[in-house]
Assembly symmetry: C2
């Protein structure tokens, strides 16, 4: 199976990867969440080739993660802005950064996130929408385990 066909897999993770899973795309989204909007900004900040930036931005626009808006007519200039769907990726990027900071000992010191509600430095904690308590991996089960869709030949009737 080709990578370009992952969007045919009926799985939420695969569907997400079809939209944001290409190489460089996450870095583009990282920069968009930091405020980048221009083609050149994405190119410089990511370091990817211009052809890749053009391709990935078009892909994100096609999937309504970003929108392309003209902000100047002569000469034509465009800004790429996150849509609500794109802004909804912030928790994903934050979770990824947190994993990186806690699990990989790189040369990067942790970002200092501040919660403006309580005005304190914090780390993200995933909790349960029902009881509000933390929901670490070992406290989670799935009600309807995913069923492996296997094609089995139907017994011939003719």
């Amino acid at each position: 199976m080709r990578w370009s066909e992952i969007d045919t897999i009926p799985c939420p993770v695969a569907q997400a990867m079809a939209v944001i899973g290409d190489s460089w795309t996450i870095l583009i989204l990282r920069d968009a969440l930091r405020g980048a909007t221009k083609f050149e900004e994405f190119q410089r900040a990511t370091g990817a080739s211009r052809a890749i930036i053009a391709d990935r931005l078009a892909h994100l626009v096609a999937h309504k993660v970003m929108e392309r808006v003209k902000y100047e007519d002569h000469p034509p200039r465009f800004a790429y802005r996150l849509t609500p769907r794109g802004r909804a990726l912030q928790p994903l990027l934050m979770t990824m950064a947190h994993w990186s900071e806690t699990q990989l000992r790189g040369a990067t010191r942790p970002a200092r996130r501040r919660h403006t509600v309580c005005d304190h430095a914090f780390t993200p904690v995933i909790t349960c929408s029902h009881c509000g308590e933390p929901a670490p991996p070992d406290t989670i089960t799935y009600d309807a385990p995913r069923i492996e869709v296997t094609k089995r030949p139907r017994p011939a009737t003719s």
Copy 2:
């Protein structure tokens, strides 16, 4: 810049992508979190080519996200298991699946997650480690905005 060089970028997100950002890798991790351990399981569940599975598993092992353990000597058989570092990716995958389920209208119906602490269906909510309240994107600021590391020539003193 080549994709194989992202690991040189001093940014937590880029460092994470260097470890888990290749195409197919997230699907391999998805299956590992679902309980897959064998080479053939990963190959069948993801649909990627055998060469890709071999390459990606080796990469994950090299970065201590998975470990390769022999579970049979004659003939040699190996299992790939998540390390603590790998299991720590569960929140990332869950956040991704949640984004997909809420933001993409695919043919995939939402997984029914259950929190065993309160025994209720739930959705993941990111909260603040300090006050415990939800920390949506618009309540988060950064204390030390990332500084662009630019080399500027030191004024000559001789």
